[in-house]
C-alpha cells in the first residue's frame, strides 16, 4: 500500500475537487426544483448524496490513505472559494463528511476499495451532515424530522456512492 502521493495523484485529486466544485454549484438547481415539487424529504433522497460523492470517487480512483478525506475536503474548499450564500460552511460540511467516509476505508486498513466500501462511504457522511444541519436548523425542524432526513440522506449517499464507484471503475 503506497502512502505517498505522486504529482499525477495530486492532479487527479485536483480534477475531482474541480469537478465536484462545479457539480455542487449545479446540484442546487435540481435540489430546489425537486423540493418545490416533492418537498424536502424527496429532495434529500434524490440529491443529498451528490454532496457525499467526491470521497468514494477519489478513494476508488487513487486507492490511497487519505484520498477520501482529501477528495471531499478539497471539493468543499473549492465550493467555498466560489462566492455563494453558504460560504465557508461548505468547507466545514465537506471536512466532516470526508472524515466519516475515510473511516470506512481505514476500517479495512485501506486494503478494500470495492463497491461495498463505496456504498458505505457514501452513506456514512449523512451523520455529520445532518448533525451540522441540526446546529443550523434545529430551532425550525423538530427532532423527528431530522431522524427521517438522516435515513433519507444515508440512503441517497449509498446510491450516489455506488454511482461514484461505477463511474470510477469504468474509467480507471
Amino acid at each position: 500500500m503506497k502512502l505517498d502521493y505522486t504529482t499525477v495523484d495530486l492532479a487527479i485529486l485536483a480534477v475531482v475537487a474541480a469537478l465536484f466544485g462545479a457539480v455542487f454549484a449545479v446540484a442546487w438547481t435540481p435540489y430546489y426544483a425537486i423540493k418545490a415539487l416533492g418537498g424536502k424529504p424527496v429532495a434529500v433522497l434524490l440529491t443529498y448524496g451528490i454532496w457525499y460523492m467526491a470521497a468514494p470517487l477519489a478513494a476508488t480512483l487513487l486507492k490511497k490513505p487519505g484520498s477520501a478525506l482529501l477528495g471531499e475536503t478539497l471539493a468543499g474548499l473549492i465550493e467555498s472559494l466560489i462566492p455563494q450564500i453558504g460560504g465557508f460552511s461548505s468547507l466545514i460540511y465537506a471536512f466532516f463528511q470526508g472524515l466519516f467516509s475515510e473511516i470506512v476505508y481505514a476500517s479495512s486498513r485501506y486494503k478494500k476499495f470495492g463497491s461495498l466500501q463505496a456504498v458505505t462511504a457514501g452513506a456514512l457522511p449523512a451523520i455529520p451532515s445532518i448533525l451540522l444541519d441540526i446546529f443550523l436548523w434545529g430551532s425550525v425542524y423538530p427532532l423527528e424530522v431530522f431522524v427521517m432526513l438522516l435515513v433519507l440522506a444515508a440512503a441517497s449517499g449509498a446510491i450516489y456512492g455506488f454511482i461514484a464507484y461505477n463511474v470510477a471503475k469504468r474509467l480507471r
Binding site: 487527479i12 466544485g21 457539480v23 466560489i82
Partner: protein, 236 residues
C-alpha cells in the same frame, strides 16, 4: 483607496465567523455579530455581488416557509388559515441571523481578496504544503474548464431530448461519466508535465507573516466577537 488585508487572516476570520454561526444558540450575540459583519460586507461588496445578495434574500423567504410549516409551539397569530406558532418567529430569526453571519463572511472575504492570493499567502506565510496549494490552484484553473464542459454536455443532452439538468441518480451517472473521462485525461497529463518540470524538487519561498494595522484591527474585532459570544451566548 484599496483596503489591503492579509488573505490568510481574512480566511481565518471568515472561517471563525462561520463556526460561530454554527455554535451560537442565543439571539443577542448572533444579532450583534450578524449586523456588524453584514453592514461591513454590504458596504464592501454591494456593487459586485448584487445577484448574490438577491439570492440571499430569496433564501430567507425559504427559511420563513420552512419555519411556518415545521416550527413548533402554541399558535400565537392566525393569517387566514395559517397559524403562526411561537417557535416560528424565533426559528426564522435564529436561522436568518446564522445565514446572515455566514453570508457576511463570504462578502467580506470575496470583496477583499481572491483564491490565488489566499493560496500564495497560505503557502509562503503559513507553511501550507506545496502539494495542497498545487492541488487547489490546479482545481481553480480546471473549474472554468469544467464549467464550459458542463455547458457542452448540457447542449448535447438537450439535442438528444434528455434532461438538461440531471435530476435522478441515473441522470447523474450519464452526466458525470464524460466529465470525469475528460478530466482524468487532463489530470494525468498535467501531473506528468508538472513532474517533468520539477514540481517535486521545487522549494517553497517562505516569508514571515507581517500583519498590518488593518490585520491587527481584524484580529481584535474577531477577539471581541468571540468574547461577546462567550459572555452573551449559549454556545451549543
Amino acid at each position: 483607496m484599496k483596503v489591503r488585508v492579509n488573505p490568510s487572516i481574512l480566511f481565518f476570520y471568515g472561517l471563525a465567523l462561520t463556526i460561530l454561526a454554527f455554535i451560537l444558540g442565543s439571539l443577542k450575540p448572533l444579532a450583534i455579530l450578524a449586523s456588524v459583519n453584514l453592514a461591513v460586507g454590504l458596504a464592501l461588496g454591494f456593487k459586485r455581488y448584487k445577484s448574490l445578495i438577491a439570492a440571499f434574500l430569496l433564501s430567507l423567504a425559504g427559511v420563513a416557509v420552512n419555519a411556518l410549516i415545521f416550527a413548533g409551539g402554541e399558535p400565537i397569530y392566525y393569517v387566514g388559515p395559517v397559524a403562526i406558532r411561537s417557535g416560528t418567529v424565533r426559528g426564522f430569526i435564529e436561522v436568518s441571523l446564522k445565514l446572515a453571519l455566514m453570508f457576511s463572511a463570504t462578502l467580506i472575504f470575496s470583496s477583499l481578496t481572491n483564491p490565488r492570493e489566499l493560496l500564495k499567502s497560505l503557502e509562503s506565510e503559513l507553511g501550507l504544503p506545496k502539494q495542497v496549494s498545487f492541488t487547489v490552484s490546479l482545481s481553480l484553473r480546471l473549474l472554468r474548464i469544467f464549467e464550459s464542459d458542463i455547458s457542452e454536455i448540457q447542449a448535447i443532452r438537450r439535442s438528444r431530448g434528455l434532461r438538461v439538468a440531471p435530476l435522478t441518480p441515473s441522470d447523474w451517472d450519464s452526466f458525470l461519466s464524460p466529465l470525469l473521462s475528460l478530466g482524468l485525461e487532463r489530470g494525468r497529463w498535467i501531473g506528468i508535465a508538472a513532474e517533468l518540470r520539477g514540481f517535486s524538487l521545487r522549494k517553497t519561498k517562505k516569508t514571515c507573516l507581517k500583519p498590518s494595522f488593518l490585520d491587527f484591527l481584524l484580529l481584535i474585532l474577531l477577539l471581541v466577537e468571540v468574547l461577546i459570544s462567550l459572555i452573551f451566548g449559549n454556545v451549543f
